[in-house]
Amino acid sequence: MMALSRSSARWGYGLLAGPSIAFMLLAFVTPVATLAASSFLSPDKHLTIAHYWRFFSEPQYLMTLWNSLRLAFYATLISIVLAYPLAYAMARLGPGWRNVILTVTILPLTISVVIRSFGWQILLRNGGPINQSLIALGVIDEPLRLLFSETGVVIGLVHVYLPFIVLPLASAIERIDGRLEEAAMILGASAFRRFTNVILPLSVPGLAAGATLVFTASISAYVTPALLGGEQIQVMPTMVAQQILTLLDWSFGSAVSMVLTVVSLGVLIIHWSVAARFTNWSSQEGPHK
């Protein structure tokens, strides 16, 4: 009786998970695995690493990888700078501010990247409000080239992926005991030192998690660089699209997309393993309250 109900439970749960597993194997794993396989095939269907060799031996392609890493690095750095005030205010200014900040931060995630980029195109173009006000203020004489430049792409990336870092950072800061800051203040630490000596070190787990998400999302982003960078700014995802849609070079395009996937996954895996080691270490030290 017991054995029967256990095996029927197994069948029941198998029936529940089965369709999703079968669907994902067929509709996701197979296409991605096929793409990975085709990056190792020559036109006459022989195994080859020629496509990867071509990528890593041409300075032009390496430059594209470097562009991706550099822009993602800038976007991550700026996101960190903007995320700290937001996360700190969420954790310390009470529920009213927290809810407003959360809602405003999440809102862009629910709006198509096409619409957001359209808004940035209006803001950043030569006759746009940013250039006009800078000229009116006498900061610049000629309009700055913001749209179709690296600046535009970085602004767009920060705007899209800021929520990814604000949320983990806010929960990390919320866990920091407010009395530590008070103690530091009583001992005469300036606001700057309280940040560098209390908040910053204790929020590292949230910072690392958020920065990893922003970085990997930024190197993988296609729409933002395509719409705000134009044709001058080539990054890995736009290069993949160009190789496949314009040049119809499927095998090289799939090799480039595998390089992109490995870089992005690699950053995530490094973060996961470091974070896991850090968690083990801190749990041995005893709970931090």
Binding site: S20, I21, T105, V114, S117, G119, L167, S264
Partner: protein
Amino acid sequence: MSKVFGRQVALKVLVAAILLFILSPLIVVIICSFGSAAFLYFPPASYSLKWYHEVLALDGLQEALATSLLISGIATPSSVILGTCASLALVRYPFAGKSAVMAMLLSPLVVPAIVIGIAMLQFFRSIAVLDSVHAMTIAHVAITLPYMVRTVVASLEMEDRSALEAAKMLGANPLQSFFYVTLPAIKSSVFSGAVFVFIISFDNYAISLFLSDASTTTLPIKMLEYIETRTDPAIAALASLLIVFSVILLCISIWAVGIRRVARLSGG
């Protein structure tokens, strides 16, 4: 004391400025949509509602909207049902390879969208039986399933198992205990997950781009076409309507599960 107060004001001003940065592209689009000139300009010299009358007359808009609603309308319930069932098995039943299954179901979150897009394009071409609406629907289910699984698994892990055991002792069969015990406990998560799945599918550009063809385009792809070819504010009016639509959906999901759970859902 006044120093602390001054610092709080400084923080609030800084926060307000960053929030303005986040909202600025949306505000600019909305303001431009009320401009009366034939050329999109910020700030508009004079205001009118006339571009809102032009929206539905945009060439090909109604077809693209219908395609988008069809795809998201099929992809959302599919993803909700598949994801909820898989989450039940993952949380309730310990089986070998469980973490591998979980990793596979969540893997679309860690593969760049463009890579998913071309992988699907290659795959659907090679099997050559599906038209682009089918292909996009399947792709949208695959990329939204992880969100559903993540939300429902989190909600099931918080579930009170004793109610389930009580139902079993009272003679409820598995279906009855699902509909009378489990579903009421997870329904708000399932609902907000469904809203998010719809948004992700309806807004998707990077993957649909590869799977659409000349006769079948979704709304985001059509919109980009307008942005690149039109210079009047009709496109801003359309974008404003979609912004309002997103704000409403966001409010509904905040109302259903609270802002914290919505935040977690969105990727943090």
